[in-house]
């Protein structure tokens, strides 16, 4: 059975302009040890969907429904807040873009690590400190035992993110969600962190959801990819298939607008003109239609169905791109 099962997840927010339908029916599975990339731009719903899975969206103002949302067979939506708190940190953990927002600036790193270990694993202080040193070493922080008494501001951005990963993995969760975790980091540091996460995911058999708008990072890291647009998964595929046989107009547009460090002759990038649709009044046709360069006649008549393009490869698109 899949570790994470999501079926028809919908998240909406009450706002004074109306109901914002941020996530409109997302379904996917995630297996243990898999790294799933989630690609989408600002406002696509990728972060909201993950926060919903982590039970980190207070309802109200959010309203979350799904026909299934389960982690290791346990229903995430129906469980009590107390149980969700037990799972967060211990079974599922999340790393965000800006570690300075997640780390308490007035507590030492050691204290913040120890807190998680004592709370979820019931370790005493001595055990927790010893484990904390192991964790910092695991994520490649030199002089780990000395660094326990350092404060977040005494670390560089890359080091802080390593600390966040250490905290996230401290209780050996089954699921790790990383939301733009390397976006704010320098490229050489990003390369280090990506290698670290890949290694740990394989060594510890953790399932990872890696959210990023950076197609390069996703290409180098992920086994499968979900492409999200306007609150829906518009394409899902194994990573090689997504990049070599994109089957949705939006995926094609993203690939065409991404500059490459190895580009040869490419005079102009092909941007995706326009802006994403308003989620208060979502379109009844394909949400990408107004910006799509490969639209066909059927696109203007009905919402495209989800079609299969290969094993584990589906897209909601009428066009034949392959």
């Amino acid at each position: 059975m899949s570790l994470l099962r999501v079926r028809d997840l919908q998240v909406s927010f009450a706002s004074d302009r109306g109901l914002v339908r941020a996530v409109q029916g997302i379904s996917f599975d995630l297996e243990q040890g898999e790294i799933l990339g989630v690609v989408g731009e600002s406002g696509s719903g990728k972060s909201v969907a993950s926060l919903a899975i982590m039970r980190m969206l207070p309802q109200p103002p959010a309203r979350i429904v799904a026909s299934e949302l389960s982690l290791a067979g346990e229903d995430l939506l129906g469980m009590s807040e107390a149980r969700a708190r037990e799972l967060r940190g211990a079974q599922m953990a999340m790393v965000f873009q800006d570690p300075m927002r997640s780390l308490n600036p007035v507590l030492t790193i050691g204290r913040q690590l120890v807190e998680v270990l004592q709370r979820h694993l019931g370790l005493n202080r001595r055990q927790a400190l010893s484990r904390a040193v192991e964790l910092l070493e695991m994520v490649g922080i030199p002089q780990a035992s000395r660094r326990l008494s350092a404060y977040p501001h005494q670390f560089s951005g890359g080091m802080r993110q390593r600390v966040m990963i250490a905290i996230a993995l401290s209780c050996r969760p089954k699921l790790l969600i990383a939301d733009e975790a390397t976006t704010a980091l320098d490229v050489t540091i990003q390369a280090q962190i990506v290698e670290l996460v890949k290694r740990l995911a394989h060594e510890l058999d953790i399932a990872v959801i890696w959210i990023s708008h950076d197609l390069g990072v996703v290409a180098g890291m992920c086994d499968r990819v979900n492409v999200i647009y306007a609150g829906r998964i518009v394409e899902t595929a194994k990573v090689d298939d997504l990049f070599h046989r994109p089957s949705h107009g939006y995926t094609l547009g993203l690939l065409g607008s991404t500059p490459r460090v190895d580009e040869t002759e490419q005079d102009r990038l092909t941007p995706i003109e326009g802006l994403p649709p308003d989620l208060i009044d979502p379109p009844t046709l394909c949400p990408f239609l107004p910006r799509c360069k490969v639209a066909v006649a059927e696109c203007r008549q009905s919402m495209p169905p989800t079609r299969a393009f290969g094993p584990l490869h589906q897209a909601s698109c009428f066009a034949e791109l392959a």
Partner: protein
Amino acid sequence: MVVAPERPAAAGSNVGSIGDRALPLAAEPGDAEAILRVEHLSVHFPVRQGVVHTRTVRALDDVSFSLPRGVTLGIAGESGCGKSTLGFAVMMLQKVTSGRVWFAGSDLGRLDRRAMRQMRRRMQIVFQDSAASLNPRAQIGGILAQALDIHGLFPGRERAPRIRALLDMVGLPSNFAERFPHQLSGGQAQRVAIARALAVGAELIVFDEPVSALDVSIQAQIVNLLQSLQRELRLTYLFISHDLSIVRHVSDLVAVMYLGRIVEFASKTALYANPSHPYSRALLSAVPVPDPVLERERRRIILKGDLPDPTNPPSGCAFRTRCPLASAECAAQPPAPVATGSDHWARCIRIGADLPPTGTSP
């Protein structure tokens, strides 16, 4: 045109070429071809540590280059390398510790206030966080009008058509003049910042991470706009970015910076085809490519450690503590630029040495 800092400019040198542009290889100060010339520019910040002790952060250290008109110089590097400081220093928004900035033949440091203000019409800057650079209480039309007012341009009845023309130039409908910054998307706000830079007739525009905060499809829109405007108006750009993929796309020349110094300077083609400095090579190898097959096959040069403390940089070559090629000699003194091709130099004494094999991406 590329000038290695310690080599005196030779008048009347032969013409070199960068891509399909023929450019003179040397320039005299005041040479009309070089719209911008930076000579031994340094910006040092004293940092007080304790009661008596003061250290210095060499945010910019002995930077020199020339930039011909109509060309884009990409300034690439990671946090703390000094690229933003360089942009601000060129604009005279940052006090310079030593060295000179020549713009269109004038030494900016020598100009009186009035002359400098005139000069500011011709050199403008666009920042990363465009929304933060726009007055949130002013309408877009007012923001553009303010730029015109400061320089006394397009008064009275000429004003409104000029604002419409500017919005049109950056691809915004004229009714955007009535909007407020919070009503704009990130990309739209950046377009307004560009319009403002163009409003007073700038010839040189410094862009400090102009697209880093934007989604990739919007980045592409803005980059295309910048390139069209450059061709149409014969603009010169200083394009500061940590994103080497974008730098490759927009630049004609590239300077790679590390801890306040330019460590490599080359035409875009030369740098990306044949990076000479070990830092450039590591940097380029770290940039991910949107192709999983290539990513699996790549051999990354993973740098160890972090940037050194800028108040206490390593002796000699500042990169040596992370460099896979570092030898004992590297600690002796900061390396001088070494030519590695025509229009290509790097500050390294180990250029050409084979990098030791590091892990492939698993």
